[in-house]
Subunit: 417 residues, 4 copies
């Protein structure tokens, strides 16, 4: 086990640890540790809501999820010698739930959760169809996840960090804040909002205090979106063995990581999202000096996924196009096409006995694949979503005999919006 | 070899065959043949432009591609007993280039092409960055494709039909024409257009003649977009061994197929697009009576891909978010995020010596994967594009040593817009 | 389609064609055609018994199979410039059943067969347990095979040539004949025999006639075993896209090919064996001058399998050790261990309703994997055989509920030894 | 983390722990713990030689390896309610090197080893060609292994227990001892021996003492071979997520496990063997009452491998037949054929600069595949060994340009026999 450069004690809050992480992006958040190129090191990660979501049968915690507090990030980690313009190579050596702790109140202690945010509190991919809050709790057994809230499925986790990235420069941060403010300004009262502006309330900024804390809290970018620095990309394939190349924008690179997922479907469509958990991640870093220019990687991480993802050889896939549910034709809108594909999958699963919200939660959590199948055939994009049939304990594909009916069990807890 | 229910003679035009196909969607186009549930049958397919694109080193043919003539479709094939509300099971038993003909002037005779439409004549996914017309010709050798216009790559084809679907009902056709007209009306002079209205000029409608031809030509929907009936979905994974379930909207289902691709990347981003070819396809059909309601499949095909797609175990992936090249923040726009991911891949490939258009053509043709990685992290979608490193004959991943430089050869023919 | 350098007319016997192949190995069999390095070419192949096995429900043809006539081989093909000491690169571009002919009396015309030889006529891997002759006929539908004699299974073919190789030199041929004669001499009357000596009766030797025919027929090695030149290796993974490197022993290399299989399990345990068929194979050849010494490949082909083999993600595996059925301990005998593993699999399948011979035939034909798992743990080897569960239309793995019972149908035809 | 039912303290010998395991098979070794069907539990495992092999650059420890002390096994674990005739389902939930300890003197503390036994002390698969002792030490970094003794390779571990099984009944034990004694009697002085008889010297028998210890030590079967109870099967595919079904021969089943491998090639050809390590394994057990008869599994485990093994899509394979190096023809001897295939692979690798022993050690440790390709083509078996090309940092396949030359580094330590 590599040295733990960022330890977390599961019995204490994220803000009451020996080393304090952060939940905003800002170049002036001081590194919590410095590593050298070639070093391997272990980082503990807290689940993104720092324990506010519970292993119970109520969705009230999801309904009231404190969005201004996310994401509880570990870091930043300075890499000796890293300079703006370099590429930072990050190898994911290993990661998983909280080691040696398989029961307890923290997600990652043998369990995790998938939530659907209520429309007034963040919403999600299909928030117009699912305006209320829902939750599913998943139990881990070795590599596999099952849920009392979504019976008849079991799958091997495709464990990955939802969020990892380097610190932005002051210029880059300014660019973010400017462009996102401009978007918000187009519809400032929208529910859910178009984007999230800097928010001092709830900010965690490492060791910063006093006036410096106030300044950085007022400027720091929220961690929800992926951006030029990587960030909350939610790429489910960043599993063990992956190698990622991040652009470096500040001296030391200042790498941060968090939002671990036991599993996730492409898109993390439920927003709250994946199977959320705390845990550990072992990383190794290297540098390619000047690599951003050498390889034309001026923004957004590039990566090579690992080779031990769970394998499936049979899939049932659904397609969608960019026509709204109301029948309006949109122009090459792959976001909409994927929504329609996912709604088709949900409709299909209900024919077997699942509630729509069980199906929605499942698509957010299971290793489904979402593909941009056609993006040019005016006016319709075609998006597809692939479900591995082996995760179900009943036959999933259509036959002349019609669907079997499963017992949906207690269902997914709901908390009205 | 199953019986050929739709033969094509390679020496004659698509409109000068014993059986005439069609290039518009309409319920009143008469079936060219009737098959029974359980039947296997072979269908010949003409490349979508009926031979207008040549195996040469000029892109003028792409520049002037006659868009009003596409897609040359084989069919419709009536399935005995099929009723609206049924699901039509279509098994793709086999497919490939024109059998026994490996040289000749028709795409599919041992070769195929990928084009980039000029902006005034259709455009494409990245038309703002690539307004001119380009072409790459690919040579087939067994399962593999190589191109004199894009050297240093070779890959196993992921052969599939770009377009397959059932005939729309009159109601459904009317819905299409209405909603697409409404979209066009929002910007009728746009170049390229938002959508394509019915176009009698160039219409091919099977055995229809006279007034009936005129009526159907005036009403028939264009075949470019995928719609509720399947259609031009361009799903690269509909390979040999795939099973597709189509909704049935008219008596007999009236299945049509065409636009065969030797290979394609997810999205078919070059529009003209994939590796285009004529060839054959062997199909077997079955029915699930009432299956649309039973399984909740009221629209858009669902499918189970085959299990012999080419396997790759190492990928280099690029990510993009929904920020425009000009720095404008868009709201959860996966179409844009995929454009940015593809542009990143193109930029990267140019560092090895490819021209940008070679890289663009390659992404349209090779078995790349496009994923909807994050679709909820406001305001940024995250899309990713995966390149299999094994298709290149040089090492593709970033290292401290920097990229090797390949000889890009004669490059891709260009014809100015 | 590449040029056909060795055509076969399905209506005529193998010995009544324009070009005559061969069924013995000998350096003096004249090439039927000459190809150049870089050439692609098509070869027709006759099924190994030249039509003696029929698509019917009797195993009498297997019982009386004329072993002295096998294998009907296409070739030899001389490669311009090939010299002893070179490595001959052979790319398998494509292969399959007889094209354009999907019904007829010849295996390969839409069907194939698996047989179990009777003990007095060749026997097989489990001949002590299965002394009689059995047959199963398989129907091809696209890539898939099913059998009226073995219901409830369906699988994608893993199509490959059972036999391909270069001609031996005179020295090498002499070595073969000497060492095999020595083995036979240890038990000359064994049934089945230990090996097969040269046999003029039934010899086919291309264009040779007269005294030269007599001499070569008396010396020519039988084609049953794999040897230094490749030959009847029965490697099921030599599928489309494979590249093989053969040692060259004579000027021109003199490559021959035949014994096409629609599918086969590792080991081809039924001997008669795989799913036998005639068909076509498209090859491309290249040379590595002096490659045998350069790469240390003095004998036995090396190869790189293709990347489109059927994929399975769930297997049920059986193990065996080197203890005989009578309880005798043998020393590290992987042949025996694999027999025991296969017998375990057969026993297991009978619990679902199959007859033992149905199970045996299935293991010979389906894409099962046979592994040398442990070869050093004295005194027991451990061999394992993996069955892909997806080929069965019922759940195959053990559960508390016990096995489902299938209807075994008409069973496999039997002809007593 | 499941409860640890068998803990090991890395600072103490295997025989100086709170709970003592065993290194012989016998029904009267008392269980160290009892678990219930449905239970998950963690077991610590000591490397098979209990720390006698060191992380250094000498092979003297391998030369003098105390074979009478192996294998250090954890258990037996009694399963409540298990009866002879049941099938014991064992799920491998997780396993790996010693957690939280990545450096130290014990194999499993961040490193492991592969050895080649000297011919006078156990020998191995190719002991006639490699009579001396050799060693390679492997370092673990996340999922990957590299070795200073075998440079230019790196691979993801295919982690598995080499040995797991249920206790034999008295009858079964008697059968083993009888049949193995009979084999030994055929050549009692052979070096290396044909089999290993019971050996009181070095026996570890859990909590047994006194006369009972003496009796059991005199009768207990050695753990080297796999047998009816599973045992030392060395099946490299028993990775995370695997489910194994063991026959139950005694009340409580009495499951034992050990001999963890970080990686292994099919066959574990070096005998000492795989990449040996200590570590942990998390198991879950269930019962199928009467399952041995219900499913016809009277002996030898059956299993379903997990779905997260490392994936490779390009392989270079070598074949061998059953002819000895001296040119003697053997009859269908797959053991010999695999030896020849492995020797061909070794010869090939030396052309790139490796020493023969480096190549041999690599084949024992890396995830190579060994297949029984042909087992009926008298008189020659054909066995094949597949090397994944991606584990090498140089191009491995043959080309006209000849092999690159790598620097073999310090080589593998050798200790003369």
């Amino acid at each position: 086990m590599p040295d733990v450069v960022f330890p977390l004690d599961s019995t204490r809050r994220f803000t009451d640890q020996d080393k304090i992480g952060h939940n905003r992006w800002h170049p002036d958040i001081p590194p919590v540790a410095t590593v050298k190129p070639g070093d391997s090191f272990r980082v503990h990660c807290r689940e993104w809501f720092d324990g506010e979501i519970h292993n119970d049968d109520s969705a009230d915690d999801i309904r009231n999820a404190p969005l201004h507090t996310v994401h509880a990030l570990s870091g930043p980690f300075a890499v000796e010698g890293a300079k703006p313009g370099d590429l930072l190579i990050v190898d994911i050596l290993d990661l998983g739930p909280i080691p040696q702790e398989d029961s307890g109140p923290l997600a990652g202690q043998g369990w995790g959760y998938t939530g659907i945010f209520a429309k007034p509190n963040g919403g999600g991919f299909l928030t117009d169809q699912f305006p209320d809050a829902y939750k599913a709790v998943w139990d881990f057994s070795g590599q596999k996840a099952t849920s009392r809230h979504i019976p008849h499925v079991s799958f091997t986790g495709i464990v990955h960090p939802g969020l990892m990235g380097t610190a932005p420069s002051h210029d880059l941060l300014s660019t973010w804040n400017t462009r996102e403010a401009a978007l918000i300004a187009t519809d400032p009262d929208r529910v859910p909002p178009l984007a999230l502006p800097p928010e001092p309330n709830g900010a965690i900024l490492g060791s910063l205090t006093g006036a410096e804390f106030e300044r950085v809290a007022a400027e720091g970018a929220r961690t929800a979106p992926p951006r030029e620095n990587g960030g909350n990309q939610d790429i489910k394939n960043l599993t063990k063995g992956s190698r990622i190349f991040y652009p470096v924008f500040v001296d030391g690179a200042n790498l941060s990581v968090g939002d671990l997922h036991f599993s996730q479907g492409d898109g993390e469509i439920t927003f709250c999202g994946a199977i959320e958990m705390g845990g550990f991640i072992d990383l190794r870093v290297e540098l390619i000096p000047g690599g951003m220019d050498t390889y034309g990687v001026s923004e957004n991480a590039i990566f090579m996924p690992g080779n031990t993802d769970p394998q499936f050889s049979e899939w049932l896939a659904f397609s969608g196009t960019s026509v709204t549910l109301d029948g309006e034709q949109r122009y090459l809108d792959s976001q909409l096409a994927y929504q329609r594909a996912c709604l088709h999958a949900i409709e299909y699963l209900t024919k077997f006995g699942y509630s729509p919200e069980q199906a929605y939660l499942l698509l957010g959590a299971a290793p489904i694949e979402g593909r941009l199948s056609g993006v040019v055939d005016i006016p319709n994009s075609c998006a597809t979503v692939y479900l591995p049939t082996a995760i179900f304990d009943f036959p999933l594909s259509p036959t002349v005999d019609g669907p079997v009916r499963i017992d949906p069990g207690i269902g997914a807890p709901r908390s009205p919006a």
